[in-house]
């Protein structure tokens, strides 16, 4: 630390600016084994609330410890009224019946209307959301919108309470301008201990976590952002809370912690959170385009694909039946520009940006692509489709002893289903009629009593119509067809129910 009048201060500031220019964009091979990330074990979504670090570039550097302390206290005093502790009750259908689950997370107020940002894995699909404010008052909140792809959600408390209780919203900062080493604070409720602040630095500002992460509820997530890694303590309960810089701006939303590690936590950058929150407030969802392409980083392989310089995004895989397949794109093609915007992904950390560019396209747009295939550049057009909901709604067929979920277009891709027709079995209640009939999770029901069931509404109607009579379900199990008889209220048979 330097004293304000220190003659070396200017030099140090220049050195730092110089260092920023020189900082090469860190590149690594595929992120280290994510077996440690709770996400692989389905537990990762530890919401950690990081207290905000203050924006470094815009404020004077604290010149000694007392100044740093002052800055931290200033942030805390300004931001603490925005912090909420969230206790959602979510319904889970995976055990074949509707079960409620209570959990704890965090969130922060972003406007005076009462909108609070948190994680999808905290408040998404919640049937009831209670929040505890900074003054320990408890309030019921309303779920406004959710976005599993970025693991974000927005809830809302009445606007009057914001003013009544003297809550001051926090504003988003510029996560792109973050530097490794900046001080940040995490605010939240680790282990349900509300109103906790922890302190650390930005350990890495564009950490790439591998594609294919899934939320505990099964949805794909994490395609569109890299992560801010911090050593401010992040624990279960911090999810959804803000990561704040010394300027009092939210630079991230704490969402992940690494298991079996100390001081390794991850936050969703403010750039992503701000855009998603705005859309959730406005229309309750985020609309994205989808083309069905999986990219991989080009590394230094440009010559293998007929280029002399490394540019473009390498297409690794083309989804069967998606818009890219329809347009004739093939694995090995290199996407040079998308809708006129040049595209490059040499390193994994650049991939989310490419996916974001595609997702931001208005749905149904005809986009011109510049594609390189075996040293020949050509122009192709592709029409985007809607990403749509990652997962359909659920329903409990209580008398039959199982739960189902409606099938969305994305589910057909994610779960590799045969088609969108029918409903997928989410869970089978042990010992219930469906269990005795040997129904399995993951199977698709496309007929009940010889009547087609195309969607969840049709299923619910058939279920109601069947009453107490035995129901014959036609099952699509990948490439197989099966029949399952469900007899409500059946006593276990002694002639050897097949088990």
């Amino acid at each position: 630390m330097l004293a304000p009048q220190d003659p070396h201060r200017k030099q140090a500031l220049n050195a730092r600016a110089h260092a920023r220019l020189l900082d090469p964009s860190p590149w690594r091979r595929h992120a280290p084994a994510m077996t440690i990330t709770p996400s692989r074990l389905g537990v990762h979504l530890v919401a950690v609330v990081l207290l905000a670090g203050v924006a470094f570039a815009l404020t004077p550097l604290p010149t000694h410890a007392a100044d740093l302390q002052t800055s931290i206290l200033r942030v805390q005093r300004n931001a603490h009224t925005a912090l909420v502790n969230i206790q959602p009750v979510t319904e889970s259908y995976t055990r074949g019946e509707k079960r409620k689950r209570a959990s704890v997370g965090s969130g922060f107020l972003i406007d005076t209307q009462g909108h609070i940002v948190t994680n999808y894995h905290v408040a998404g699909r919640a049937s009831r959301v209670m929040v505890t404010l900074h003054n320990k008052e408890r309030v019921e909140a309303e779920l406004i919108g959710e976005d599993p792809l970025t693991d974000l959600a927005v809830i809302k408390i009445p606007a009057e309470l914001v003013s009544d209780y003297g809550m001051k919203p926090v504003r988003f900062g510029d996560s792109d301008a973050l530097e490794v080493g900046e001080f940040v604070m995490a605010l939240g409720s680790p282990l349900a201990l509300a109103r906790t602040m922890t302190f650390g630095v930005v350990s890495n500002k564009d950490r790439y976590l591998p594609e294919g992460m899934t939320l505990p509820t099964g949805e794909r997530t994490g395609d569109f952002n890299t992560w801010i890694q911090t050593d401010a303590a992040i624990n279960p309960g911090n999810s959804g809370g803000p990561l704040i810089n010394l300027a009092g701006e939210v630079v991230g939303v704490n969402a992940r912690g690494a298991m079996f590690a100390d001081n390794i936590g991850f936050a969703i950058p403010a750039a992503t959170a701000k855009a998603v929150a705005a859309s959730l407030v406005k229309i309750g969802e985020v609309k994205r385009s989808y083309v069905g392409i999986q990219f991989q980083s080009l590394q230094d392989w440009e010559q293998l694909f007929g280029m002399t310089e490394a540019r473009g995004a390498l297409i690794a895989s083309v989804e069967r039946g998606g818009p890219a397949a329809a347009a004739g794109l093939l694995p090995g093609d290199v996407l040079l520009s998308y809708g006129g915007t040049p595209v490059t992904a040499r390193f994994d950390e650049e991939l989310p940006g490419v996916y974001q560019l595609i997702a931001d396209t208005p749905i149904g747009t005809e986009v011109t692509l510049e594609v390189l295939r075996r040293e020949n550049t050509s122009t192709m057009t592709i029409t985007t489709v809607e990403t749509g909901k990652l997962s359909g709604d659920e329903f409990e067929a209580e008398a039959w002893g199982f739960t189902v979920r409606g099938i969305t277009d994305q589910m057909v891709f994610d779960r590799d289903l045969m088609s969108k027709d029918g409903v997928v079995v989410e869970g089978v209640r042990t010992g219930g009629p469906a269990d005795r009939g040997n129904l399995s999770r993951g199977w698709v029901i496309d007929q009940i009593n010889d009547t087609p069931v195309n969607d969840l509404a049709a299923f619910e109607a058939q279920y109601a119509a069947a009453g107490n009579a035995p129901a014959l379900l036609r099952i699509v199990d990948q490439e197989r067809l099966r029949l399952v008889l469900v007899t409500p209220g059946d006593e276990p048979t002694t002639d050897g129910g097949s088990r």
Partner: protein
């Protein structure tokens, strides 16, 4: 629910097909409760008098001893005037026929080349040196009886060690994948060898006692170990086998002798579902007894194979069971009743493999089959399926099975004749090639892998079978299960094109080698950067 199929589906890890079928204990059938006298009494009575006496008794002692004879199994046979063996006699007869078979396995597991030494029990079954062993030797092992996951092992260095100090070398003759048994042939015999004799004149029942033997390890001087066992249950599923009291995995491969010194069975671990033995790592039962009647044909065939001097094969011969090409489940009584199907059992076809005999004959998913060649398919629940599958697999390619298909409501039936084809090759029998430069083993793409990864039937390529993690292939990111479809500019459709592509690459020594692979429905590129100088120096 059990997905029954007459062809295994090879995913990366063995498929989970739901809860294993329960066995139907034969105790429920009255005719198995014969001889209450035997069952009511403890099997062994402590009669020091009895043990102290030699076998030949003066007649005046015979009468009271006849009573004793009723109580002690083995000697009970004496009352039928058949000659039995004492345990010491048995011991002396059996010991020279048994050997510890040591062998080497080389396979890839955990991204590393494993070379393991393992051993199993072997019994000499002919004077010219045929040896019966467990088929477990084919599966990757980390020490005897400890199965590992890994690629298909290469087997070498079979050596037999007898308790009397004799040592012999042996070669593989053949394996039976359904019974999980193997045959070796001693190659350096200098004269006739002590061997066992079999008999199929044998009626097993609950409580039947066997004598058996294994050898202690070298550290214990390879001393023969008397290992009595007895039948404590007769199982129909997964196969007709005997559950044995007193058996352990150490005894797998040990013969089962009757009291007269004839071998009536062997201790084995059998595949839990028919046909599963055609996988590299099938799910196996615990140690159970296989009756001689069940493997008699295997020995006969093996004997002729050895006699024709078929060269010892490193991989087992092709599966010669007939193939239908369907997946099916038990229809089950409740569903059958609901659909109005006639009583007696039925199976529901769940899938027809395109291009298979079933497909050609016009069978379709959701067909209900009730009879084969006029005989009712007595499958009422899932645990009945194995019997049915076994019956199908007993048919040879070219045989025709006529199925009776019943329509819902039982209104009409029709007959569908299916001519069985050869069982398609599985991963177990797939040809493999090794590439040392990239420390990679690949195998041909077989139907079970196509089905397991749900690939388009037109998919071509070779499957990565094993790769050492720190070799050039492993460092590039290749891993087992991936299907290599292109290397640099060379398309790879089969093993020959794979080798040709790599030969070209090795000749050109490019800085980077690009692999295009498919895995399930995704494709991806991997790049290897081998150190050609280092490789050419080797």
């Amino acid at each position: 629910m059990n997905t029954a199929t007459d062809h295994p589906t090879n995913r990366l890890s063995p498929p989970r097909s739901g809860a294993p079928a329960r066995s139907a204990l034969r105790l429920a059938l009255p005719n198995r409760l014969a001889l209450p006298l035997r069952l009511a009494l403890p099997l062994r009575l402590a009669l020091p008098l009895r043990l102290a006496l030699p076998l030949r008794l003066p007649l005046r002692l015979a009468l009271p001893l006849l009573l004793v004879a009723l109580l002690v199994p083995g000697v009970a046979d004496a009352k039928k005037k058949r000659k039995g063996q004492t345990v010491p006699q048995f011991y002396e007869m059996a010991a020279p026929t048994l050997a510890t078979v040591e062998f080497n396995q080389e396979f890839v597991a955990g991204g590393q080349n494993q070379q393991t030494k393992s051993y199993t029990d072997g019994v000499v079954i002919s004077a010219d040196g045929l040896v019966l062993i467990s088929g477990n030797v084919r599966f990757p092992q980390r020490g005897p009886g400890r199965m590992a996951s890994g690629s298909l092992p290469e087997l070498t260095g079979f050596r037999l060690f007898f308790s009397d100090g004799r040592e012999h070398e042996a070669e593989v003759v053949t394996f039976d994948t359904d019974l999980n048994l193997g045959l070796l042939r001693i190659v350096d015999a200098e004269g006739p060898l002590p061997h066992v004799s079999f008999t199929d004149d044998f009626t097993p029942e609950i409580g039947t006692a066997f004598r058996s033997m294994t050898l202690y390890t070298k550290e214990y001087g390879r001393e023969p170990v008397y290992s009595p066992m007895s039948i404590n249950a007769m199982l129909e599923t997964p196969q007709d086998v005997w559950s044995l009291a007193g058996s352990t995995t150490n005894l797998v491969g040990a013969p089962l002798w009757n009291a007269r010194g004839k071998v009536v069975g062997v201790v084995a671990q059998v595949p839990m579902t028919p046909g599963a033995g055609r996988m590299v790592r099938p799910r196996l039962s615990g140690p159970v007894g296989l009756s001689y009647a069940r493997f008699q044909a295997f020995i006969t065939d093996g004997r002729s194979a050895a006699e024709q001097q078929i060269a010892a094969q490193e991989k087992p011969p092709e599966d010669d069971a007939g193939w239908l090409g369907i997946e099916f489940q038990a229809l089950g009584k409740p569903v059958a009743k609901h659909l109005g199907i006639s009583e007696g059992g039925a199976i529901l076809v769940t899938r027809v493999i395109p291009g298979s005999p079933a497909g050609d004959a016009g069978l379709a998913p959701l067909d209900i089959l009730v009879a084969i060649d006029g005989a009712r398919i007595a499958v009422n629940k899932e645990s009945d399926l194995n019997t049915f599958i076994g019956a199908v697999r007993a048919q040879k390619p070219g045989a025709t099975m006529t199925f009776t298909r019943e329509a819902r409501g039982g209104a009409s039936t029709d007959e569908v004749a299916v001519t069985l084809a050869n069982s398609p090759k599985t991963e177990l029998h797939a040809e493999r090639r090794v590439n040392d430069a990239f420390e990679l083993t690949v195998r041909e793409l077989t139907l079970d892998t196509l089905l397991g990864q749900r690939l388009d039937p037109t998919t071509t390529g070779v499957v990565v079978d094993g790769v050492t993690r720190a070799g050039w292939g492993g460092l590039a990111g290749l891993s087992p299960g991936m299907i290599i479809q292109r290397i640099n500019e060379h398309d790879v459709t089969d093993l020959d094109t794979f080798e040709a592509a790599l030969a070209k690459v090795t000749e050109e020594t490019p800085e980077k080698v690009l692999f295009f692979v498919r895995f399930r429905r995704d494709t991806r590129f991997f790049v290897a950067e081998p150190d050609w100088d280092e490789l050419s120096a080797e």
